[in-house]
Symmetry: C2
Subunit: 432 residues, 2 copies
Amino acid sequence: MRILIKDTAILRMVDQNEGILYGDIAIEDDKIVAIGSVPEGFAPDHVIDGKKQLAMPGLINAHTHMAMSLMRNYADDLPLMTWLSEKIWPIEAGLTPDDVYLGTMLSIAEMIRSGSTTFNDMYFEMEEVAKAVEISGVRANLSRGMIGNDTEGHEKLENSRAFHEAWNGKAEGRILVDVAPHAPYTCSDGYIKKAVELSKELNTQIHIHLSESLFEVNESLEKYGVTPIKKMEDLGVFEVKTNAAHCVHLHEEDFEILKKHGVSVLYNPSSNLKLGNGFAKISKMVEMGINVALGTDGSSSNNNINMFEEMHLCALVNKGLEADPTAIPAYKALEIATIGGAKALGIDSEVGTLEIGKKADLILIDLDKPHLIPQYDLVAMLVYSAAASDVKTVLCNGKVLMQDYEIKSFDEKLILVMADEAAHNLVKRTQK
Amino acid sequence: MRILIKDTAILRMVDQNEGILYGDIAIEDDKIVAIGSVPEGFAPDHVIDGKKQLAMPGLINAHTHMAMSLMRNYADDLPLMTWLSEKIWPIEAGLTPDDVYLGTMLSIAEMIRSGSTTFNDMYFEMEEVAKAVEISGVRANLSRGMIGNDTEGHEKLENSRAFHEAWNGKAEGRILVDVAPHAPYTCSDGYIKKAVELSKELNTQIHIHLSESLFEVNESLEKYGVTPIKKMEDLGVFEVKTNAAHCVHLHEEDFEILKKHGVSVLYNPSSNLKLGNGFAKISKMVEMGINVALGTDGSSSNNNINMFEEMHLCALVNKGLEADPTAIPAYKALEIATIGGAKALGIDSEVGTLEIGKKADLILIDLDKPHLIPQYDLVAMLVYSAAASDVKTVLCNGKVLMQDYEIKSFDEKLILVMADEAAHNLVKRTQK
């Protein structure tokens, strides 16, 4: 299959000084084979008109729980523990495998429409999530979120192993499986060590929540005398390539530990703000050379998976926080949302930029909108003016998932109706 | 003219406990005549299908400079004074009346598409802005931004007076004219007093920038020994109903002064963050009973006029700032963006809520989108999940300005082309 995208503006995200290219993009099977000018002999099976559009790498949602779309706007504006213990956990306990499948498909529809081509998911019933990825054509790193201690949670480790065996590298290579001990405050030290051993054995990355709330950090300091991040270092977690979600409340030493071990920080501005956890120090991380990726968290603490919103927050909130209008400039926010995510997920040799030989994971932004005119600076435009709804066409792994605002890889209308019904039945079942 | 909106969800914004109503809305000429059930004899000239939609009051953009759309993404990620003195002021100096008209029309297209029906504008060549309001069908409070001292700026006062005479109450009452001394740091004390006198004489409100940057507040303290807000109180500004944009850097006493005089705060979260000015203490203002309205500021410091983004920031950023997930709950953010704006602009008896007898300024939100499913709580949905692009239909003063995503009151495509051309010519002219 050969696809030609014609006459488009192109932001490769390879070099800030490159600026915007203009021309065509040629795709053969899953790969980009030409950018700018296309060899004369290239005979496309499918041509996409790229006029008045901008091509850029698909966004990478580096931390989410896709099936939580079924809990969107179910419980908001509540204190954290009330929200979790009275609302989210009871409804989560009632989720069936079918619910997880439909919730994930609902999120995949939203994700495609908002320009993400890859997500990093930690949840349960992950076989259902994997099926949704396979069918829909997107790319994902998937991990079974594990909570346990010395006596409980063994089956989750085994489930992770089985899931890895069944799905790692599957769906034309679009699925990678990681290992995910949920968090230091939900896993015993011994359990985390077992997770690390499993990760080493399977040669996976680790996906974990770290230092999300002040409460978590203070509790760790009281109980163990060290921060959660220092504790994870001591347990050997960072001997494995680790992706740490949140990292909002860091001590000075924590930054050094993350840097030293090449831990990627998965930044979730909407969720951190909405739950009242506060502001991660992203400018400092970027200055130190810590790799930062961007995520939405689940739709129950966001309440969407709109990466344009997260990019906007990333660029704006850090300027306010640093009292510096030059903090996290637009290009940096775009890097964090693309190649930063790819580096975190260990797939930066394949995606995250538009380059010849890389996978064709790319999106086309419709520039013919009042809020995107005039177009002096397309990089600033993407971060400060554009919205998820400006994403017109989406390709992943060389396949067209959406063209001219129409999802091509599955029946979106059917998923919307079925997911809506599943959500309402879920509430009925769990709210007796 | 009689319009019937059928079978829709309705959020009146009259009482938080009312919840969502379901039914029809009847409009006769410029007014709402029925909500919920419509009298049998009502014979509509035009019927709008409201199924899978939510009707709510049009959003009120309480502080903006609409024509600055022509400078969108022209200069970003720069220190404040570099941005102003090297980029914005030189290009602004080259704006012609036609540019102001086209820039304003471009912003009105964006405003309608993003669900605002009213804006509060401070700029120059205001006759052009007024013409754009008249033609496009939206509602606006307009004021000539005035900079001056004892020897300079007299003509701006006279221009304000003439503009008031020509346009106040015009365009079927959709235009109100206010008086706008730009800011304490750009106007002498004597000049501000003259503006206050003019405002009293014409019986207008005052629109002013106050305490936007730390630099401004510190300079005022050094030069005069008082904050800008105390200084304005001393000069008698607050004897007139005042709308104060920004109010980011307030001293304890400033809050009391604003409260005492019934000053409305026009909150611009994107702009305050983007320029590195920081975080206005909105939760505290709300708790004290200060009226807060929401604005986008101009498109050169935002870089759009998307009130859904501002609502989202208003609800999220203040939760992060207060470390409290219950701060500025969704309904409060909606109030700030609707009736709060109407109160600031002095038009709350006419707009800002959906009520029988009020003007028909309302928008319909398209609920049939993946990011808006499921729909447990439509109030939370509007603030945390929805986007400007979910606005499907817009009415102002009983006229349909957009239906099914198509702008009806002017030729949008033509405006986009002409504004784009004007912007490029403007840069060519001013960048010799």
